[in-house]
């Protein structure tokens, strides 16, 4: 069985490390993109998408909403579950993220166990 891979897009180095740590601890393979440009490069450079994308909203160069749009435009990536991770917990941002095509959202500060439960659920639905 191929390893479950997760693309983590997070510009805060420390938060990126927390996410990588807790996901790898569950046996997931992770790739970390630290800004919008690196994330776009990771998305457009391959037709083999990860099993799930964990995506911060506020990113340098290209924001999370635009990245969701880029992901959904690509045929091979259009069914990849996207979980948005955002400090902006206003209803407007959540609605916008879901409208753009995200599957779910987690509000920062987050509970690692809640985040992992959501990741598991989306991976299970996709399988």
């Amino acid at each position: 069985m191929p390893e479950t891979s997760i693309l983590v897009i997070e510009d805060d180095e420390h938060i990126g490390q927390i996410l990588t740590f807790i996901l790898q601890r569950q046996g997931y393979q992770t790739t970390l993109a630290a800004d919008g440009l690196a994330a776009r490069k990771a998305i457009v450079s391959t037709d083999t998408p990860p099993s799930l994308v964990l995506l911060d909203v506020m990113l340098p160069y290209i924001d999370g909403f635009e990245l969701v749009h880029i992901i959904r435009e690509r045929e091979a990536w259009k069914d990849v579950p996207i979980v948005m991770l955002t400090a902006k917990h206003t209803e407007k941002d959540i609605v916008r993220a879901l409208d753009e095509g995200a599957n779910d959202y987690v509000v920062k500060p987050f509970q690692p166990n809640e985040l992992l439960a959501r990741v598991r659920r989306h991976l299970k639905e996709q399988a």
Binding site: D12, H14, I15, Q17, I18, F21, I22, R25, K108, P109, F110, Q111, P112, N113, E114
Partner: protein, 353 residues
Amino acid sequence: MESILDFRLPANIYLQAAFWAGISALGLTLLVGLQIIALRMSMRRTQRREQALTLKWRPLLNAAIAGEELGNLPELPWRDRVLFIKLWLHLQQAVRGEASEGLNAIARRLGCDEHMRKLLVSGNRAERLLATLALGHMRDRESWPALARAVHAADSASSVHALWALVQTDAARAAYEMAPLLLRRDDWPLSQLGNILQNARSEWQPVLAEALSRTSPEELPPALRLVAALRIDLPQAQLQAYLDSPHVDVVLAALRLARSPHVIGQVRRHLESTDWRIRLQAVRALGELGDRSDVARLRTLLSDPEWWVRYRAAQALLALPFLTEAELAQLRDSSDRYAADMLTQVLAEKEAA
């Protein structure tokens, strides 16, 4: 041949002054240059210490966040404590729940709670602020008296963070002790207060209502505006009493709190006020509370002599969820020209948003 040893100061007093001024400027330039080099070296040393500390402690802090049991911890040198707490705070701000508790446990094992208590009392402003944030995350009851004193400080940033720390530690006790002060402090940023009370509304609501009842008539309007901005509801009887107040400022502030259908009668009565500011607030409230019977009332106010009241009436009508597009078009066609123009303008604004 002349050598540098043969140099003599010029005899002219002005030339001598210019010479020594030049020497002094050169000396000062050298001193500033040395200071810059020293600062750069100190900054590089701190950066290296920070990098080494992050490499050493981040895996352990991540493990604590993930809920792993940690065995023996490495020693944390005294001089690295503040750097450690800065890293720890950064992680604290990213997580909550059990993960936050895991971070607290590791900080206490390292004696950071004791160190932060000392900084809170005897540190400089930056250190006191750092200690306040750290002790708030730790929910440290021992530092309650020092934090309570800090809430009364004139410094807005320090005092509002101290309030946050108290609410984190014991929301009910903080409400009981700090509600009257909160109603008086107009220098605390509303958005920050909103965040602080976000998860403590049930503890603060009754205490703030009680504190309001003891507030002087002069202080009541700003206090009510604050409670409205924090979206804290008041008991029905208390709100009704404010809505019936003879003081215009109290009624204006109370109308901002009118979010319950129980006060809709009073809100409707205020639509007929002679003070346009009261009509304006009543229209705004009716936009949130109104039913079908209010369409006719709001339509009448589309022809109000005051532009802002007409504008708010149009906004309120368009916000009514039960009004269909056909009904709206009929309303526009059957209204006078000013009312129709206002409806068209607000509709255009809504579409452009």
